[in-house]
């Protein structure tokens, strides 16, 4: 029983991280129609930027913000210098995928070359805030959950209530039409990548906060979890991504109670394949058809 409770707790925590990542990933897909397979590597870059800042003596919150900024900057540069030019050229879906894989390769290995193969951890010690049925819940975990909730609320407000959000949704549905309506599509897309990049950086920092240790290769398989959460929720649907993250987080952690923990990734992947085969439009079926940034 204890195991199940603690697995559920950790499932919610990891779902928080996944939600941040999946929403960011979905946002990028919605505005640029590209599966940014380098997303998880960008998360890791953000996480390491925060580490570097922390080691340089900056306080935790500032370091975290630097991590977020790093994610935002890298994502923006990626779109501006790689994805957008190629999209304007007109490359096939496959070539775009190969490109994003190549980018992930470059990012991952540059980071590896710079920081080396060692394991690191943030200079924070978690303190137990309370326990549920003898499953401990730490302050760091609560912070991550709070961050995720705050970010989700922010996204909701942005998408639904602000002019920018409306512009983003319009650009996502039909860029050409949006442009002729006077919406500066390029600027909107750039902002979308900035915001999603910030979410990406935040997800990276959050992931490392709740991990006992991490290294430059931590992001390698995480991308599939992100995609799984996004697809599960119906790719292009931000709320679906949140739901998908929750389902996936809980599923992987709970199955780890009975199966060997090293199967976690396999479970996530099997869920992904299952969804792709059975219901490619995701669990929020009404909002299928890829591109629209539904809210």
């Amino acid at each position: 029983m204890n195991l199940i409770v603690s697995a559920t707790v950790f499932g919610v925590v990891i779902a928080a991280v996944l939600a941040l990542a999946a929403v960011g990933f979905t946002l990028q897909y919605s505005v640029s129609n590209v599966f940014n397979l380098a997303f998880s590597e960008t998360m890791v870059v953000g996480g390491f930027a925060a580490l570097g800042a922390g080691q340089a003596g900056l306080p935790l919150v500032v370091a975290a913000l630097i991590g977020v900024a790093a994610g935002a900057v890298v994502s923006l540069l990626l779109n501006h210098f790689v994805y957008q030019p190629f999209a304007r050229r007109g490359v096939s879906v496959f070539q775009m995928l190969v490109i994003s894989l190549a980018v992930s390769l470059v990012l991952a290995n540059t980071l590896l070359a710079v920081v080396g193969p060692l394991s690191f951890r943030y200079d924070v010690t978690p303190t137990v805030v309370f326990t549920i049925a003898s499953a401990a819940v730490t302050n760091l975990q609560l912070i991550v959950i709070a961050l995720a909730v705050a970010a989700m609320l922010g996204m909701h407000l942005l998408l639904k209530q602000s002019k920018l959000g409306l512009a983003m949704r319009a650009a996502a549905v039909d860029g050409g039409l949006a442009q002729s309506c006077g919406i500066a599509t390029t600027k909107v897309v750039a902002i979308a990548w900035l915001i999603s990049g910030a979410l990406c950086g935040l997800a990276g920092v959050a992931l490392f906060l709740i991990s006992s240790s991490f290294s430059a290769t931590s992001g390698r398989t995480f991308i599939v979890l992100v995609i799984a959460a996004a697809v599960l929720g119906g790719i292009g649907d931000a709320y679906g991504a949140m739901l998908g993250a929750l389902v996936l987080g809980l599923t992987t952690e709970l199955t780890a109670v009975w199966l060997d923990p090293s199967f976690k990734i396999a479970v996530a992947l099997i869920v992904l394949i299952g969804v792709l085969m059975a219901r490619p439009q995701g669990i929020r079926a009404e909002f299928s058809a890829g591109r629209a940034l539904q809210a």
Binding site: F35, L37, V82, P85, F86, R89, V91, V93, F94, Q95, L97, V98, I99, L101, A102, V103, S104, L105, V106, A108, N109, T110, L112, A113, G116, P117, L118, T221, V224, I227, A228, V231, D260, S262, F263, I265, A266, L269, I270, L272, I273, L276, M277, P280, G290
Partner: protein, 335 residues
């Protein structure tokens, strides 16, 4: 020739054949039929493991103690382990194909394939009793070494010759496809599956078949590698490797068998050799990591500057009598 130089050359040759055969398999899948198989490395892994399983024999020795951890083994005479490896590679096409080759959108297809590669890797590492886990399999017997009774140096040249023979065989397979009416069918499936369907082509069957042939070649390359090195472990087949092969195909010239061969010699082999002579700087593994960075940048660079590769695919034309114009002939000559 000194023993070191001899060994170095043999190693280079064998690695080259492994890269070339592997890249040709990918070429059939990607350039001919339009399948982006991000799980290609799994077929290579299957080849490596199966050739080991079919030559090692059972995991326990005569006294019943477990020598290595794997789920089953047989000690088959040469060349059966290789035949088995190729067949196994073709067979895994069925489950993977059923999962990923149905009417999914291309990007979902690719993600599904990538997931397969990652699942395979995760499973093998997580279940040591299956295929030796993270350590992999070792002491893989070299084919015919005992029977021929050659010394190490001589044997290694024999093996190089064997690997080259297999490359010639692979060349025959892919060039045959390239010069046959079948190639048009594959290309049609790539260009416009709907129109191909309307013309009488069973698109799913064609895709599965091309997938299987490509995977068979991948398995062959894995088998050649594993039998040569004598060990095989997950570190030898990370999903990043698929991207290196992909890079070789793109750089060399997708759809051009000669180009792909050159790409294979340049990228996987050439890069590894070039970095061999660089002094190891930074933390261990930095130089290897930088290799991948170079590969990634090269891929992006080529896709931007010269997506058709160094040796572009040639247009197929026919002379006045309806005979195909060979690749050295003048192209596009109007009859």
């Amino acid at each position: 020739m000194s023993a070191d130089l001899s060994f170095y050359l043999v190693t280079l040759l064998v690695y080259a054949t492994v890269a070339v055969i592997g890249c040709w398999g990918l070429d059939v899948q990607y350039s001919d039929t339009g399948l982006l198989n991000l799980s290609y490395i799994v077929s290579v892994a299957v080849g490596g493991y199966v050739v080991a399983l079919l030559s090692l024999g059972p995991p326990e020795d005569e006294t019943g103690t477990v020598v290595q951890e794997y789920f089953w083994g047989a000690e088959l005479p040469f060349p059966l382990p290789f035949v088995g490896a190729v067949l196994a590679g073709m067979l895994i096409s069925l489950p993977i194909g059923l999962v990923a080759l149905r009417r999914l959108r291309s990007d979902y297809q690719a993600v599904a394939m990538l997931s397969v590669a990652l699942i395979a890797s995760a499973l093998v590492v997580a279940v040591p009793g299956l295929l030796g886990g993270g350590h992999g399999l070792y002491l893989i017997p070299a084919p015919l070494k005992e029977e021929l009774g050659l010394k190490s140096a001589e044997y290694s040249w024999f093996y190089a010759g064997f690997a080259i023979l297999l490359t010639v065989l692979a060349a025959w397979v892919v060039v045959r496809i390239s010069r046959s009416p079948l190639w048009r069918v594959l290309r049609a499936v790539r260009e416009n599956p709907e129109a191909a369907d309307a013309i009488g082509v069973n698109v799913t069957a064609v895709r599965l078949a091309a997938f299987a042939v490509g995977n068979g070649l991948g398995a062959l390359s894995g088998a050649v590698l594993a039998s040569f090195i004598g060990t095989y472990a997950p570190a030898d087949w990370s999903y990043q490797e698929t991207l290196i092969l992909m890079g070789a195909v793109i750089v060399g010239g997708a759809g051009n068998r000669f180009g792909v061969m050159m790409g294979a010699l340049l990228l996987p082999v050439g890069l590894a050799e070039a970095t061999r002579y660089l002094p190891q700087f930074g933390a261990p593994g930095t130089v290897d990591a930088l290799q991948f960075v170079v590969v990634g940048l090269v891929i992006i660079g080529f896709l931007w500057l010269r997506p058709q590769g160094v040796f572009p695919e040639r247009k197929r034309t026919f002379d006045v009598d309806g005979r195909p114009v060979p690749f050295w002939g003048k192209q596009g000559a109007t009859p």
